[in-house]
């Protein structure tokens, strides 16, 4: 279980998060929604260890994560994507996918020098996995294309693929559907559900309400850095405050 306790973050006087707490459980998809600038991405960054909170803590299975150390958080099995995709632009799509996997024997200099065979074997297996994942994302035809030359939507898909390469128990996704075409979004939805069904914890930030309604088991609504509502997607739809501030519809 992933739990966030009283996390507060301020940037140069601006309170991006104010004592936010939430819990995400294995096998369930937790949606995080809220107006622009309400602190969703900041919260995700805190969970991923990219930002150290001013106060409060994040823990996984009751063990606190090392704040501000993304590499150690990732090593605990947390994978994430960015709202504005980050990729190695000058590497090919398949190479990007392959670095997604952690703990490769070929990344150890000693193994490389004295047991090159181990590295070669793991590479062979890795290529197969990476291609399978690319096929699933509809990017297989771009495998040998430079990642920097992908279109906006394709970059989103690729970065999701990279995150999945290390088979993470916890997955943090920042607007994976923005800029992705509707047919692929439908496939993403199916995909996300299957990931949760495999027992993973998923934290999903989205402005696409259909997707939220469709995949999320629970939803947390942020506004100006505080949680203003939580519950099932249906509950949230009925919440007047959320309707006003976020959905912009008159109830």
């Amino acid at each position: 279980m992933l739990s966030v306790r009283d996390v507060t973050v301020a940037f140069a006087g601006v309170r991006a998060l104010d004592a936010v707490s939430l819990e995400a459980r294995p096998g369930r998809i937790l949606g995080l929604i809220g107006p622009n600038g309400s602190g969703k991405s900041t919260l995700l960054n805190v969970v991923a260890g990219a930002i150290a909170p001013d106060s409060g803590s994040v823990s996984i299975e009751a063990v606190p994560i090392p704040a501000g150390r993304p590499e150690e958080v990732a090593a605990r099995g947390v994978a994430r994507t960015f709202q504005i995709p980050r990729l190695a632009r000058r590497l090919t799509v398949i190479q990007n996918m392959m670095v997604g996997r952690r703990d490769q024997p070929g990344e150890n200099l000693l193994t490389l020098l004295f047991r090159p065979g181990a590295s070669r074997r793991s590479e062979r297996a890795l290529v197969v996995d990476a291609r399978a994942m690319l096929a699933r994302l509809g990017l297989i035809h771009l495998a040998d294309h430079a990642a920097g030359g992908l279109s906006g939507g394709q970059q989103k898909l690729l970065s999701m693929g990279m995150a999945l390469m290390s088979d993470p128990p916890v997955l943090l996704l920042d607007e994976p559907a923005a800029g992705v075409n509707p047919v692929l979004v439908e496939q993403q939805i199916v995909f996300l559900k299957s990931l949760a069904a495999e027992g993973r914890t998923v934290l999903l930030i989205e402005h696409n309400m259909e997707m939220i309604a469709d995949v999320c088991d629970d939803v947390v609504v942020l506004d100006a850095g505080t949680v203003i509502a939580r519950g099932s997607p249906v509950d949230i739809r009925r919440n007047a405050q959320v309707m006003r501030s976020y959905l912009g519809e008159t109830a």
Binding site: S41, N45, A50, I51, F82, Q83, I84
Partner: protein, 294 residues
Amino acid sequence: MLQILLNSIVYASEIAVIAVGISLAYSVVRFANFAHIQYAVLGGYFTYAARGLGLGFPVATAISAVLTGLVAIIVERLVFHPLRGLRPEAKMIASWGVALAFRSGVAAVFGGAARVFDVETDTYLLGDAVITSLDLAVVATTIAAMVVLQLLLYRTRIGTGLRALADNRDLAATRGIPPDRLTALMWFLAGAFAALGGTLFALETRLQPDMDLQILLPVFAAVTIGGLSSIAGAVAGACILSLAQNIAIGVDFGAVLSSRSWFLPSQFRDTIAVAAMVLVLCFRPRQLRSGGVR
């Protein structure tokens, strides 16, 4: 102590004008132009040549500034413009090639030996510290030049455009800002400031074709301390560096600790410049990484 302060101010002025040119160019084209210091040397020689024709200092310096500005534009057209899109390190190495070519050109025309400007100076005493009329003129010119540049960058549309270009060239073009024309203008300014700085430097010291090697280190240290792309930073960097050097070498540490006088040997002056730079860099606040962590 007052003398140390005065020396620092004069030395800071000498390098500041050259340093701001590097910052200016860096902020727009994103590479440190090694040829810039050679522009300063060239500017010094232009002024020297113009003086040789019997022109007064202000006129000779103005001519030199214009000529050097044009040289900078020509180099941009012939070398840096075609190399746009290359990684910054490659452009830096190319700029080093340009500097070599200029240095040998200057040496071929003017000879390898040093030249000095003949200037009559008056000496003034402030307590037991000495300052010359030339020092005063150099400091005043430097201050005036900085004010002009500051106004140009922060009070005019050109400045606005330059800053946009510096941040995101393509996006700037889509806002109607003409990238090539503004870049040329920027090079002209950088060249002209280099010429002015080179002339001031030569007035206080001497002219020789390879003096870029001597100025390189302090100037780049100053620019770096100041944060590479900020004009005010470059000036501040020049002051910090100059003070560090002059205090380290000018203060009698022996007298502070005991009765015997002991100075840090002056050969360590460049070491001080470099060490100051390294220290400032290591302890300056962390830069925002491009795009943050979003």
